[in-house]
């Protein structure tokens, strides 16, 4: 290995001191950070490339705006959050430690103003007494109105969270589901061994690695497997996995959540490492993986040590320092102090010395004679302090020196530009706790380990507290083998490589303070991202927040985007100390998914903009488009709202013309969206008796009948006509909105209430194109369409007739004489594929009769004029009595809702019942939602007597008209009430009239 001075790249990237096992130094990538042009190599992260230039200062902290550097080398990073990219792709709060470098990358630091080096708000440090524990609750208490106007904008400006892009995200996101026998999470030694073992057994295996490269710590450590660099074995293992047809290795794929039934949420960062995704490529893909077994090999996260000014740029996790040296060939400093409580941290000194970094001191918290510190110090030529601690760090924008307090209490000031600290490793157990299992604390390794596990899950390697590589390999292989065997795939264990033994020898070290609450001078940070100090924890405990759940919320500890990955255990330890309990007694908070931030875009997938929900198109949709129709959404359906003609100035003009066409000539409207349920079986009639309020047994074949359904609580549910097409064959129509619900309701009644009934249902909504043909000329038009052997005269095919016919020379069809408008009208159903052809034929054959298509708006006006209740009237709060249909309720049979509909309150005459309303002044507007009050009454809830449910301008009446519900409505015809519309600020006088405005005797209907 070459030292810093001799490396050829020293000029451009002075700290690129060695060949990292994941970096291709033969190619150079250019990027900018805060406008500064810098370079790196393929395989770098933004963090490693910054460190290669000696740049530690990456951002300012959230609350105090303290200069912050790069703490870690992975997704646990709390400090180095940056804005990536520009314009529409600008993304805030991105961790520099996982952002892969690409040519042209633009990165910006956050939380600083005006510049990273000089921050005007850094004086927040002076306000720290205000911003301490519970400051949210204490400082901004009063008055409440100040929150929106004063406090929040000020806090937002000060506590920057990065800027989201101002433009819509130009990339697309995907969602996918897949299944496997064994899901392996993590590709360190334990995960690779598990995947190899399960894979060779023939099980379908998915190995998910959130990093861009497999290997985990095998890439980060200077270690050998079978005598060769560990990264070589990683490559071999990956080759072996690639040769197994049932094994899939997914990199850049973070398993972020454990869900019920062996379901796992995975975020695959498909193109985050590219300037822009390739043509047609998703930026990210959200996977749902359903796995029979899961082997969690997610490794461990190193803990910082809490000591004064431990957040200075240049204070790093020891394991991260090794990652930068070994994986990226970057030395994060020239003079390093290693501060540790375990032998693993000591490896850092050796790795740094190997690449030419001066080890200025090794500070080991363990007493003299414990651990391998003395030997390592000798090998590195470094001063060694046993039983010592770090008392302070100097240098505001980068470490300049540290204060070491030796075992005798003597202070030593040691110049350095890097502090590598290790408080030991916390198993990364998030996935094991997502379903509520609380982890156990193990004193021997000073860490929480999984306790109860979700069904099908097993945890191996460092995630299970097994930090030795050989042991992790063995445990992983056994777990993989066992998981495969439980899925029915048996085989022998794979050959595993020989690993060097490594000691750990941890002794608890969470802080280096004299007392948790006593840290007055110099902030000792516990949670870097949310700026929570040891003193905050002391203060919270002092104020009585000794439950860990309270502490968390009061101090906001662990509530930042990093979920406290590097801070939670230290915080517990500190809380345990101040509250004089053990860590086990203090307990821990649960971790919720996702383990890593997941963009809303990824959760939404393709479901955005016009694809937010699927669209259903009636069979005449394309035809209506060609006619220039204006469309409206009706649930998922797109329906023609009206058909404007040249010269029509307003939609009202168009709708008036469509209504008049139906009243005076003939119009047609696609009503396919109404639910159609085919009902067959010997018990079909009996079944209808039980789901509708009215009688069905005497309905003859060839006739249809209006039916009303109630819910079991006695309120109206749905209505429609049902026609009897054969002895045991009916076709039911439902409202558009309830088509799916009524289907489920019928199935429920049949399968759960009356399974003995011999009846079957199937939805035929999409099978038939159904077109309403309405108006005095409708029979004349249909005679041109329906084949001549079918007699359409009133005598042969009267109101409510229904039958199969043929049209257009033998084409099967169904004809119903139904009317929603009150005119002579029919509904003609043809197989859906002929819907558009039928519309065209109607236009052609109806032309001599003045036919025109009409949309949902005219449909609505026509039915309001006729007083037909629809969705606004059947709103779930109205009863048959309210709708004027109380007498339909049969007393001679049981039906859904029968008993509860008889409750006195539901038939109280004082209840608002259906009435018509007509303003005294024809041009006075009535609006749905307006309230009905006695004339002259104050607009109070106490005076409220009802409401308007549907309103329209009626070209037929020549006035606004409305349907509504009015208390004692049936007895108040002729009375004038006040229509109060608080939204429009109007009060209009309207007369209470019959809800049937047009042809109350039904002469047109039956003509």
């Amino acid at each position: 290995m070459s030292g810093a001075a001799s490396h050829p790249k020293a000029g451009a990237q002075p700290m690129r001191v060695a060949n990292g096992n994941a970096v291709d130094t033969s190619r150079t990538l250019h990027f900018t950070f805060d406008g500064r042009r810098l370079s790196g190599h393929p395989g770098d992260t933004l963090a490693s490339a910054l460190l290669a230039h000696g740049i530690h200062l990456a951002g300012r902290s959230f609350k105090y705006h303290r200069p912050r550097g790069i703490l870690s080398a992975g997704p646990e990073e709390p400090n180095a959050l940056v804005e990536l990219r520009d314009g529409a792709r600008r993304e805030p709060n991105t961790r520099a430690t996982v952002a892969e470098l690409f040519d042209g990358l633009v990165a910006r630091s956050q939380n600083r103003w005006p510049s990273l080096a000089f921050d005007a708000l850094g004086m927040n440090g002076l306000l720290s007494s205000v911003l301490g524990a519970g400051f949210y609750y204490k400082t901004f208490m009063w008055p409440a109105s100040f929150w929106e106007k004063v406090y929040e904008p000020a806090i937002r400006r000060a506590a920057g969270l990065g800027r989201a892009a101002d433009e819509a995200d130009p990339d697309h996101y995907e969602k996918a589901t897949t299944f496997c026998d064994v899901l392996v999470v993590g590709s360190g030694p334990a995960g690779l061994a598990a995947a190899l073992a399960a894979g060779r057994a023939g099980a379908r295996v998915i190995l998910c690695e959130e990093d861009s490269l497999p290997g985990g710590r095998l890439r980060a450590e200077h270690m050998t497997l079978d005598g060769a660099p560990a990264a070589d074995w990683v490559a071999k293992a990956c080759q072996a996995l690639a040769a197994m047809p049932e094994v899939t290795v997914m990199t850049r794929a973070c398993v972020f959540g454990t869900y019920d039934g062996g379901t796992y949420g995975v975020l695959e960062r498909v193109a985050d490492h590219k300037p822009v995704p390739a043509e047609g490529e998703a930026r990210q893909r959200l996977w749902r993986i359903v796995a029979r077994r899961c082997v969690v090999a997610t490794g461990a996260i190193e803990r910082p040590v809490v000591f004064p000014n431990n957040d200075r740029p240049g204070v790093m996790l020891a394991g991260a320092v090794r990652t930068y040296v070994n994986r990226f060939g970057v030395a994060p400093g020239r003079r390093a102090v290693v501060y540790t409580c375990n032998d693993d941290g000591l490896r850092t000194a050796r790795d740094l010395a190997r690449v030419g970094v001066k080890v200025a001191a090794i500070v080991d918290s363990r007493p003299e004679g414990t651990g391998a510190g003395a030997q390592v110090a000798r090998d590195c030529g470094a001063p060694f302090f046993a039983g010592a601690s770090l008392a302070d760090v100097y240098g505001s924008k980068g470490v300049k020196s540290v204060l070491v307090r030796d075992h005798a209490g003597q202070a030593h000031n040691i110049a350095c530009d890097l502090v590598a600290m290790s408080g030991g490793w916390s198993p990364n157990i998030a996935l094991t706790t997502h379903q509520g299992a609380r982890p156990d604390y193990r004193e021997d390794i000073c860490a929480f380990v999984p306790s109860a596990l979700p069904p099908g899950m097993v945890v191996v390697g460092a995630a299970a507290g097994v930090f030795d590589t050989a042991e992790a390999l063995g445990q992983g292989a056994q777990a993989g083998q066992a998981a495969a065997a439980l899925c029915g795939f048996e085989t022998a264990l794979p050959d595993l490589p020989r690993a060097e033994p490594a000691s750990y020898g941890i002794q608890a070290l969470f802080h280096a303070l004299k007392g948790v609450a006593a840290a007055k001078k110099g902030k000792a940070f516990v949670d870097f991202q949310n700026d929570v100090t040891a003193r905050d924890i002391g203060l919270a405990a002092h104020e009585g927040f000794v439950s860990v759940e309270h502490l968390k919320r009061y101090t906001t500890l662990g509530m930042a985007t990093d979920q406290g990955k590097t801070s939670n255990v230290n915080a517990l330890a500190l809380l345990a100390e101040v509250s004089e309990r053990s860590i086990a007694q203090t307990g821990t908070t649960l971790i919720r998914p996702p383990t890593q931030p997941v963009a809303i875009g990824a959760l939404a997938g393709a479901h955005r903009g016009p694809h937010f929900k699927p669209e259903r198109l009636p069979p005449t949709h394309q035809w209506a488009m060609a006619q220039g129709a204006v469309f409206t959404a009706n649930g998922l359906w797109q329906r023609a709202q009206w058909y404007p003609r040249a010269g029509e100035q307003t939609w009202q003009e168009t709708v008036n013309r469509e209504v008049r066409t139906v009243r005076e000539a003939v119009g047609f409207c696609d009503v396919t969206t109404l639910g159609k349920i085919d009902i067959q079986g010997p018990d079909a009639a009996e079944f209808l008796e039980r789901v509708y309020v009215n009688a069905w047994k005497k309905l003859p074949v060839g006739r249809a009948r209006y039916g009303l359904m109630l819910r079991e609580d006695g309120f109206a549910y749905d209505d429609g006509t049902t026609a009897r097409l054969g002895e045991n064959h009916y076709v039911m129509t439902t409202t558009t909105a309830n088509a799916g619900g009524v289907m489920a309701h019928l199935e429920f009644c049949h399968q759960w209430l009356w399974p003995e009934m011999d009846v079957q249902f199937i939805s035929v909504t999409d099978e038939w194109a159904q077109i309403a043909v309405a108006g005095p000329k409708s029979r004349d038009v249909l005679r041109q369409i329906v084949d001549p052997e079918y007699d359409l005269s009133n005598e042969a095919f009267g109101y409510m007739a229904a039958r199969s016919v043929t049209v257009c020379g033998g084409q099967e069809a169904r004809l119903f004489r139904l009317s929603f408008s009150g005119e002579l009208a029919y509904e003609l159903a043809v197989p859906a594929r002929y819907g558009a052809a039928l519309a065209e034929r109607l236009m052609q054959m109806g032309a001599p009769y003045g036919i025109a298509p009409y949309g949902t708006e005219a449909l609505g006006v026509l039915r309001i004029e006729k007083g037909h209740p629809a969705g606004p009237e059947l709103n779930g709060q109205t009863t048959a009595h309210d709708l004027g249909m109380g007498r339909m309720l049969s007393t001679r049979k049981d039906f859904i809702g029968r008993v509860m509909a008889q409750r006195p309150a539901l038939t109280d005459p004082a209840r608002p019942t259906l009435v018509g309303l007509q303003p005294l002044c024809a041009t006075d507007t009535l609006a749905a939602g307006a309230h009905l009050l006695p004339q002259g009454a104050l607009a109070t809830a106490a005076a409220d007597q009802g409401w308007i449910s549907s309103a329209a301008w009626s070209p037929t009446v020549g006035s606004w008209i409305a349907l509504g519900f009015l208390a004692n409505g049936a007895t108040r015809l002729g009375e004038v009430v006040a229509v109060h519309n608080p939204l429009a600020g109007t009060v209009v006088n309207a007369r209470v009239v019959s809800p049937v405005f047009v042809d109350p005797e039904g002469e047109r209907l039956h003509g």
């Binding site: 069904p455 079991e712 489920a744 399968q751 399974p755 008889q902």
Partner: protein, 97 residues
Amino acid sequence: MRLTCPFCGSRGLEEFTYRGDALVRRPAADTSLQTDAQAWTDYVYLRDNPAGLHSELWYHGVGCRSWLVVTRDTRTHRVDDVRAASAVAAERSGGAA
């Protein structure tokens, strides 16, 4: 969460809709408000909500359209049993009144 439909096999939650307590029983056809108000009120409005094993109705609406009786632990979402509601109902009417 996943449910194993007796007709369709193991399927994702999004194929199903939840209805609720499968233990409530619709009073007989010959009951009335006058004589059986309490039974009707219980049927329409009262639902058990235990912390633990619960027998509940689900609808496989995006599958075979079967109503199902699912035995589920409400604390853990562990599903112990899934049966066709029609089979459970048939046994019930065969056994009791």
